[in-house]
Amino acid sequence: MKPSLGSLLSIDQLTTEQIEAVLALARRMDPNRPTRLLHGKRVVLLFYEASTRTRTSFDFAAKALGAVTTLVTPTSSSIEKGESLIDTGWTVECIGADVIVMRHPNSGSAHLLARYMSVPIVNAGDGMHQHPSQALLDALTILNHKKQLRGLRVVIVGDIYHSRVARSNAELLSRFGAEVIFCGPLDFVPEVAATLAPGVSVSHDLNAALQGADVVMALRVQKERLAGKNHSVEDYVAHYQVTPQRMMLAKPDAILMHPGPVIRGMELASEVADGPQSCIHEQVRNGVKTRMAILAMVLGAKN
């Protein structure tokens, strides 16, 4: 296997070869056939924010490779007492962590931690910035259905502005030559979003964006954020919900994705979420495999 990744902080930081290596390794990983690849390794899951999918799948991924895991959350630790992120990191490192998987509400927190720690950091989501493991598992999912990423038309619809998933995905897909269309109301999809990477564009018209799409990725839309921008739920649903009718505008073999949690009836109609084009469950399954590959690679385990 290729040399260790070091920390996994953002998609930006990865070379094309590293991304391909993670995906190749992820394909070979099988959570149902545990190995001792990371036997004796200690994985600390430092979660400053709530998470179901990401936390559990990193946990299972680590265990499937024979590592032990410990969960640290703010409410049950010294974080609540005002300990700084760096001090918490040092503490966790001194206790014996071999890798720290962190979810944090502030953008850039994973970079901050990585600057001071000597163990690798895996960014499991930092504020609105990055969610690299999600983009990698999404790429794996897309590639299960499409020959290559190059030339694909990928529509990401929802609250792009607040979404680390959108940023990581767009950066990865753009790197491999896919066309990415960010779609949603202006407050969620500002014009500046198009500057993120080559091949990224902005649209406020979902029907137009969906024409000829190969991949439709819906993102969670929070009611409070709609209200904060004086949008009604009704209005959002009318213009931006992915419905069976709208899915017809995409290519017949288009796939439907969602990083979860899905708010049914908001960004997705249930018929679509549960429909034949939906890859939502597959994404979750791929999450465990991809995170197994990531942990193996950041820890430089020989395969």
Binding site: S84, L85, I86, H104, N106, S107, G108, S109, H111, L112, D126, G127, M128, H129, Q130, Y161, R164, R167, P190, V192, A193, T195, L196
Partner: protein, 427 residues
Amino acid sequence: MESLLIQRGRVIDPASGIDHEMDVLLRGGRVAAVATPGTLHGQAQQTLNVRGAIVAPGLIDMHVHLREPGHSHKETKVTGTAAAAAGGFTSVCVMPNTHPVNDSVEITRWMQSPERGALVNVFPIAAATVGSEGEKLTNFAALKKAGAVAVSDDGKPILDDKVMRNALRRAARLNMPVVQHAEDTRVTVGCSMNYGATSFRLGVHGMPNSAEYSVVERDIAMARETKSRVHVAHISTLEAMAAVRRAKKAKLRVTAEVTPHHFTLIDENVGEFDTHYKMNPPLRSVADRDAMIAGILDGTIDAIATDHAPHAFHEKQVEFERASFGITGLETALPIALTVLHHHFRLPLWRIVELLASNPAKIFGLTGRGTLAKGAHADLTIFDPKKKWTFYASDSLSKSRNTPFNGWNFTGRAVMTIVGGKVVYAG
């Protein structure tokens, strides 16, 4: 009476229209004479030959946070003024966002008390409203009498139209400017940097240019209407610069300062969340940075001020969005002005002196400062515009180290700083 003769320097004093090799005689804390080289020979106890160096009126920083009272873990009057002296500043004008806020005669006096141990002159800028809460005006006349040179709610801009109008009127009667940190804080809640491609990529909420220029434009409109004086602090946007340029064309009493970082750095320099590039106003786009340079070159800008804002390590070594705003600047302002403006953009030295000494003195009414006219205070900055050196934050005399200029190579620096006839720094 103590006396000092400074020989053979190139004296640049824009206020007196002098740019020649001259000798300067200081006696009893005042400038006793400026004369043709050799003619003052033997008149002083001490003589200093500074051939090749520039002798300028002492530099004045219009915008400094010395943190006392209340935040002495960041800076004290002693450490802050030591950094000022090392940077060539003989006077610093200090902002009122201390704890408690300087909204009173007592704190204004406390700040200037000799017991504080300041190495350079300290001129307080008092709060414009009680507690800088933007509601009730402070007693401008009493504050001025106690030594305040201007009023400002720096960092907590006066947004209420009525309060701002009254502040401008009251200050104008005392011939003081209102110094405004122009930021519509209603739209910048939760923002940590400039709004643009970089803030989007980093997933950080950004402050749009409009949050600054909308306030600048309103303040200018009010200055026109009330025939009063407004001073735009640390201007950072292209649009605000255009507004100030128009105001000057219309002969309004509007002045503006720019910081060295706003005419050298841009938002992209934040890189991967480096908190040493986090300040307010934030670093802007290339177009904005270029507009700052243009404003300096065409005379729209009156002064260069540092907005020296020291913070302890633990206030900067945190998540970007949680880090304190601000950087130190006293020791790098003159070197940046010389390196970037003089050497790169060919701005004449007399204009640098005007931006850093003569104009600040005029704007804040510091009589007998910012000039080397006979009888002026013996505040002098002697600098070598050609000296090549590297700035290291670890060598800073400030209590804090939060500067983006660590490791920068400069051409030019202060070699001696004299306050009231006494040498307070010699490099």
